[in-house]
């Protein structure tokens, strides 16, 4: 609650609730057998049902229901064993039926919660009001012809989940944290790819402002915001706009607005007077959706480990800090990568390499964890070489760079380049002798009390052995000979 807008009349807090539309991952649409694949030629993935031909009827896709239930379970939410579909009636060229089939009065998922983490490690619970299933609309193309618009129905009828939060969010950062956490959970569950650029996740943002302790004031809804950054910006500018209206003695009108990221402002899309009357009523083509508790239990048992649980387990099993564990579980693929590297090895060493050298290499090469130049297995093998003394940490950095460049296995690199650590005390002693002979003046200085020169000698010996000498043995030999 640290976010306040300082107005002329005092401090204002903001009240935000989010409605997230998340496209369900499924082979076919919510009520038809047409494919949901992204990027097909226009109107190639359209069934007669999607195009609303006369006499066509919707039939519910069982997999979409399972995905909605999985999501509900992942949000710790109540699963409603009976839910219903309603028709939301309005005319638009991208809506073939003239109505959208949605769950208005009886959603499949009820109340739940999401825990978000804020800067500094503080956590907050954000309430989920409901989750319901509905059909997506088609797409209008206005830029293909000067006088006509074209309609692409590939997306029409694709299953969406609308996930509605309670008005519990009090800062733009909290909205960002909420969306990132929700997206993370959806991706872990495999129920939505969370790809906001392709439109498979988008948010309607409800914003109002109030003085501390007041009841809610009028809210505005900002429609269809398609990135987390824009959601945060939109909240900021919309809240500021509302504060200014209230402080100038005006009234905020309840309306639907659009966020213009270019100008950094929101503007009216529809006023309350122009609001549609959607004439919701139960869809007579569909029976109430009744699911069995046993089926829900089966889905629950098969759920993957979710980020919060994984994070706690990583801390416990691998002895790594809360922060590092959070970085690792942010993406399931990173968590999986880490776990392959860390299993049966030193967890702390693993996290250092994954979040340090590996992330840096990914950044540098423009790759992602999915197509990492170094596989988890190879990195693990390299850690083994460190642990068993075959190479030291410094050489490991060089080996790793070669792995990034060539994709070769670490033992092959060590073998080929002769990077095996030198533990032969005879070789090390000879190197120490040679360095002491070469720098006799420095030996004198050291012996007359300039202790700091010890590091210089270590460096020189390592250089002499091309970095391959075992550092502990070098220390030991130097101590004996310099002090002897």
């Amino acid at each position: 609650m640290s976010y306040v807008i300082e107005g002329k009349t005092g401090n204002w807090e903001i009240v935000v609730g989010l409605e997230v539309h998340a496209q369900i991952i499924s082979q076919s649409k919510l009520f038809s057998g047409a494919s949901t694949k992204f990027g097909g030629e226009p109107n190639t993935q359209v069934s007669l049902v999607d195009a609303a031909f006369p006499g066509m009827l919707p039939v519910i896709n069982r997999e979409c229901v399972a995905q909605a239930v999985r999501t509900g379970l992942g949000l710790n939410a109540r699963i409603n064993l009976e839910s219903r579909f309603d028709r939301k009636n309005y005319f638009y060229a991208d809506l073939p039926q003239g109505y959208q089939i949605s769950q208005f009065a009886h959603p499949i998922v009820g109340e739940g919660t999401i825990e978000i983490e804020l800067a500094g490690g503080e956590t907050r619970q954000i309430g989920i009001t409901r989750l319901h299933m509905e059909q997506d609309a088609g797409k209008l193309l206005h830029d293909q012809d000067p006088t006509r618009s074209f309609v692409d129905l590939n997306r029409a009828g694709v299953a969406l989940m609308e996930i509605v939060s309670e008005p519990d969010i009090r800062a733009p950062e909290e909205a960002g944290a909420y969306l990132r956490k929700l997206r993370q959970i959806l991706r872990y569950l495999g129920t939505c790819d969370g790809n906001m650029e392709e439109g498979s996740m988008r948010a309607d943002v409800n914003v109002s402002v109030r003085k501390a302790g007041e009841p809610f004031r009028t809210r505005c809804e900002i429609k269809n915001v398609n990135s987390i950054r824009f959601v945060m910006q939109a909240i900021e500018v919309e809240a500021a706009r509302q504060v200014e209206i209230w402080e100038n003695g005006g009234e905020v009108d309840q309306e639907t607005r659009l966020f213009d990221p270019g100008r950094g402002e929101t503007r009216t899309m529809r006023s309350k007077e122009d609001a549609h009357d959607y004439r919701y009523f139960p869809d007579p083509d569909l029976l109430p959706l009744v699911i069995e508790q046993a089926w829900v239990d089966g889905l629950k048992a098969a759920l993957p480990e979710l980020p919060d649980a994984k994070r706690a387990r990583f801390q416990k099993d691998y002895g790594i800090p809360f922060y590092d564990a959070g970085v690792l579980v942010a993406e399931q693929s990173v968590a999986d990568f880490f776990e392959t590297v860390a299993k049966g090895r030193d967890g702390k060493l693993a996290v250092t390499w994954v979040t340090g050298d590996l992330f840096a290499a990914l950044n540098r090469t423009g790759r992602t964890i999915e197509n990492s130049p170094v596989s988890a297995e190879a990195l693990g093998k390299m850690l083994d070489l460190i642990s068993d003394g075959t190479i030291n940490g410094k050489i490991a950095k060089d080996v790793f760079e070669v792995m990034v460049e060539t994709g070769e296995s670490p033992d092959a690199i060590v073998e080929k380049k002769g990077l095996k650590q030198v533990t032969d005390t005879g070789v090390i002693d000879a190197a120490v002798d040679a360095i002491m002979a070469k720098h006799a003046d420095k030996v004198e200085e050291f012996r007359s009390g300039k202790d700091k020169l010890f590091g210089f000698f270590v460096g020189q010996v390592m250089k002499e052995t091309k970095g391959k000498a075992n550092p502990a043995l070098v220390n030991e030999a130097l101590k004996a000979k310099l002090n002897g």
Binding site: L48, A51, A52, F53, P54, G55, M56, L57, P58, V59, I60, R87, N89, F91, Y92, A93, P96, Q97, G98, Y99, S149, V151, D277, R279, Y280, F281, P284, D285, L286, L287
Partner: protein, 495 residues
């Protein structure tokens, strides 16, 4: 002659090779060519070569012993069932040139049973009407005439008026109908034929153009009760493409006809003795009661207390659903389009010019009753009353096996009568609507003529999915009544 047979008789004649399916088809195509210009029972007559090809295929099956239950029987199809490659209009300008690339589930089943389709029958636009006067392709003429009054054109009832007229006049051995509030039963009564509205969910709605989804149900229109059983058997059955279709097994309906009705309890609902019920209708009802009593039925007085709300409730729910179901006719993807500079302009012109007045009225009513501020008072209340109406039937069927009522409050009326007052027109459905609201099966059987020589029907209503008892009682009534009249305009009259 061939155009006057029942399905059962024709099936037997074909099996015995007394005549061929080609003979049967030819006789019907000739009858249609002669009488359809007058009756306007068909919107589309199928090309003779296609009909004859189908008949020849049927003959081949009779020859090689693979004939199916409806093999070679000439059938009319209400132009509300989508038929693959055959224009399907719903009697609306909106779909005047619409050729579906798919076959409705019900007509596919009929084809799979060997039926030979001869044409698409006329109806009220989008099945909305009780007199078949709202068709964009012109009214249908009832083949019956008032005694001594050939000048007055009578309506065949509606909305399945084309199907009823075609079957009555010998232009098809039987036809499909759809019934939302009485659209099979009332025209069957007006035209002196048998019409069966099955239990909601018995026949798939997939591919049938929707009027009111929670009420629409396809059914047979035939010349005998046994035919209704035979044809329903071919039409009915679970369809995974219709979530509201029932997965109950389909019984051998035809075998229910002729079964003894002795000991069955027949309920007479007090509320159907409506004030103003014409004496002739009341007398025919009494006659029906007497026939069933003589057949060994026990007559029981019952009450369906919410009957009086049936019509009002129906005229909220059906328009509400239709206002949404017909939203897809927007000129964008198929059907007629009237161009305009804006999208809203396209909608307005397309829908204003594509729909007739009755359809527009019902869309407006339906939109109104679903609107914010009116939903609770109209739609929600109507749904609650519908539940009470359903409960009336369930409770009545704890005491009795079937109910017996008149089908319609009058015989066929003249074109032009009842036309200026839509409410008067809606009263035609007063006896048929309650069974639709409850989703129970109901059968209209022709039982006699009124003083003007016009047919009258009685309605038998049964329990959910108990079409068999309905057909048994219908068969008993049919036997007792011995209705053997044919209309003035008939394929076999004056030919």
């Amino acid at each position: 002659m061939l155009t006057g047979l029942t399905l059962t008789e024709a099936r037997a004649g074909l099996a015995a090779r007394k005549f061929s399916a080609r003979d049967l088809a030819t006789a019907h195509m000739q009858a249609i060519a002669r009488l359809n210009p007058k009756l306007n029972a068909y919107i589309t007559v199928l090309p003779e070569k296609d009909v004859l090809a189908a008949a020849d295929a049927a003959d081949a099956r009779y020859a090689d012993g693979t004939a199916r239950p409806m093999e070679g029987l000439p059938i009319g199809v209400k132009d509300l069932f989508c038929t693959k490659g055959v224009k399907t209009t719903a009697a609306s300008k909106m779909l005047a040139d619409f050729v579906p690339p798919y076959e409705s589930s019900v007509t596919q089943r009929l084809l799979d049973a060997g039926s030979v389709f001869v044409g698409k029958t006329n109806l009220d636009e989008f099945a909305m009407g009780s007199a078949n006067i709202t068709s964009a392709f012109g009214s249908v003429l009832n083949p019956w005439q008032r005694k001594g009054d050939e000048a007055t054109a009578l309506v065949p009832g509606g909305s399945s008026g084309g199907s009823a007229a075609a079957v009555a006049a010998g232009l098809a051995l039987a036809a499909t109908g759809t019934d939302t509030g009485g659209s099979i039963r009332q025209p069957a009564a007006f035209c002196g034929i048998v019409g069966l509205k099955p239990t909601y969910g018995r026949c798939s709605r997939w591919g049938t153009i929707a009027f009111a989804s929670s009420l629409d149900q396809a059914g047979p229109m035939t010349r005998s009760v046994a035919d209704a059983g035979l044809m329903l058997e071919a039409m009915a059955g679970f369809d995974e493409k219709d979530s509201t279709s029932s997965n109950r097994p389909v019984p051998a309906f035809a075998q229910a006809v002729g079964k003894s009705v002795k000991g069955l309890r027949v309920g007479i609902p007090a509320e159907y003795r409506a004030p103003g019920l014409p004496a002739e209708i009341a007398a025919m009802w009494e006659q029906g009661i007497a026939w069933l009593r003589d057949a060994g039925c026990e007559i029981v007085d019952v009450s369906l207390p919410h009957t009086k709300y049936g019509l009002a409730t129906y005229y909220i729910i059906a328009p509400a659903e239709c206002s949404s179901n017909l939203a897809r006719y927007d000129g964008i993807r198929f059907g007629a389009r009237k161009d305009a500079p804006t999208l809203d302009g396209i909608y307005e012109r397309t829908r204003a010019e594509g729909f007739g007045e009755e359809v527009r009225n019902r869309i407006l009513m339906g939109t109104y009753v679903l609107s914010a501020g009116y939903y609770d008072a109209y739609y929600l209340k109507a749904q609650k009353v519908r539940t009470l109406i359903k409960r009336d039937f369930v409770q009545a069927f704890e005491q009795v096996d079937v109910l017996l009522t008149p089908t319609a409050p009058s015989a066929a009326f003249a074109q032009g009568e009842n036309m200026d007052d839509p409410v008067q027109m809606y009263l035609n459905d007063i006896f048929t609507v309650p069974a639709s609201m409850a989703g129970v099966p109901a059968l209209s059987v022709p039982v006699g003529l009124d003083a003007k020589g016009l047919p009258l029907g009685l309605q038998i209503i049964g329990r959910h999915f108990d079409e068999e008892t309905v057909l048994s009682v219908g068969g008993a009534l049919e036997d007792a009544a011995g209705f053997a009249h044919t209309p003035t305009l008939h394929a076999e009259a004056g030919a």
